[in-house]
Homo-oligomer: 204 residues x 2
């Protein structure tokens, strides 16, 4: 049995949303599973890459990004309406992701899909513990199992997201989404065809 494919994402990125709708089916075609790994992109951008300027404010690149996201949504055939890059602080949802992941990894994936949908389809950034809790309930988390709103505010949950983000950086991740297949990193939803080619040919 081969190791799972690692799928690193931050909820903030529409490209992560696009990829999240494809990666499990793609992996399954080659008998592989996928380990979803949320990380805090802002942390890596600021602390590791030294990028402090908001992405959309970079001339030319910001305009291209806005045009491209809408176009790639059409290419993937996915509904898309953005909650905005600055309106959503994904930390709460990412902490919740790992708390749920500790209980049930499939539930964590359902939760992640919920969060992606809130932000990138319904344009409703799920910032508050209440919103995150509602997404978790929709994913099947019973309130008797975990008091998510309280747990995600605790130091342990914050430290966990920091350590998962450090682990992502240590694995070479610097952008979202990133896929790591048997140690080989691929950045970008537009590179799923290369992930597939790597799986099909066993590397090249």
């Amino acid at each position: 049995m081969s190791a799972p494919i690692d799928f690193y994402f931050d909820f903030l990125s529409p490209y992560g949303y696009f990829a999240s709708t494809r990666i499990d089916a793609l992996a399954a075609k080659y008998g592989r599973s996928v380990r979803w790994r949320g990380f805090y992109m802002r942390g890596i951008m600021q602390e590791k890459l030294g990028q402090t300027r908001p992405f959309l404010e970079v001339p030319l690149k910001g305009e291209y990004y806005k045009h491209d996201v809408a176009r790639m949504a059409r290419w993937f055939g996915l509904p898309y309406k953005s909650g905005g890059l600055s309106n959503f602080i994904s930390a709460n949802a990412l902490r919740a992701f790992w708390l749920i992941d500790d209980i049930d990894r499939e539930m964590a994936k359902r939760f992640a899909r919920e969060i992606f949908e809130w932000h990138h389809v319904r344009a409703t950034p799920p910032n508050t513990p209440e919103q995150v809790g509602e997404a978790a309930a929709n994913a099947g988390l019973a309130p008797t199992r975990l008091d998510l709103a309280a747990a995600m505010q605790q130091d342990e949950a914050k430290a966990r997201l920091r350590s998962e983000t450090d682990a992502a950086a240590n694995a070479g991740v610097w952008g979202t989404p990133t896929f790591i297949v048997d140690g080989e990193p691929f950045w970008g939803a537009d590179r799923l065809y290369l992930v597939e080619d790597w799986l099909r040919r066993g590397g090249w």
Copy 2:
């Protein structure tokens, strides 16, 4: 007759080299021609994007880049040995490109392929007017037709490259290679499949 596809490149980028080996054949499949347009990437990075830190010095991203370039060369099935990002100031070769382009566009393409090969296959950055002149001669430029070494040092040639670089930025170009198909920009050699899909479907 449809408008040509614009292919914006700086000789410095290995991804531009990869793309240069594919774009004309790809366009021809859809009855389209390609207009090659050299521009000075450093100018856009520094003056438009405000990026002054050398790309390879960015943590994580620089490592990914180095790994990816070698891997993509294998994927394209192309020989590759880099002359380095800091060893090559592409301005002379880019000025020469436009001087030759004014005489014969097909010769300018052959010249560009020569320069790509010097830097990205033979790892010999063609910095000097003599080296650039040799590449031009290999592309078929007779010394009686143009004194390239002298012409590329003149203010007119420098101004031309600046105006072509400004024109690229005005068209939305911020990275190399970029393809513009009927007004639609695509950045990256790894997106040729999207360029092809756009051509095949007439957009989406």
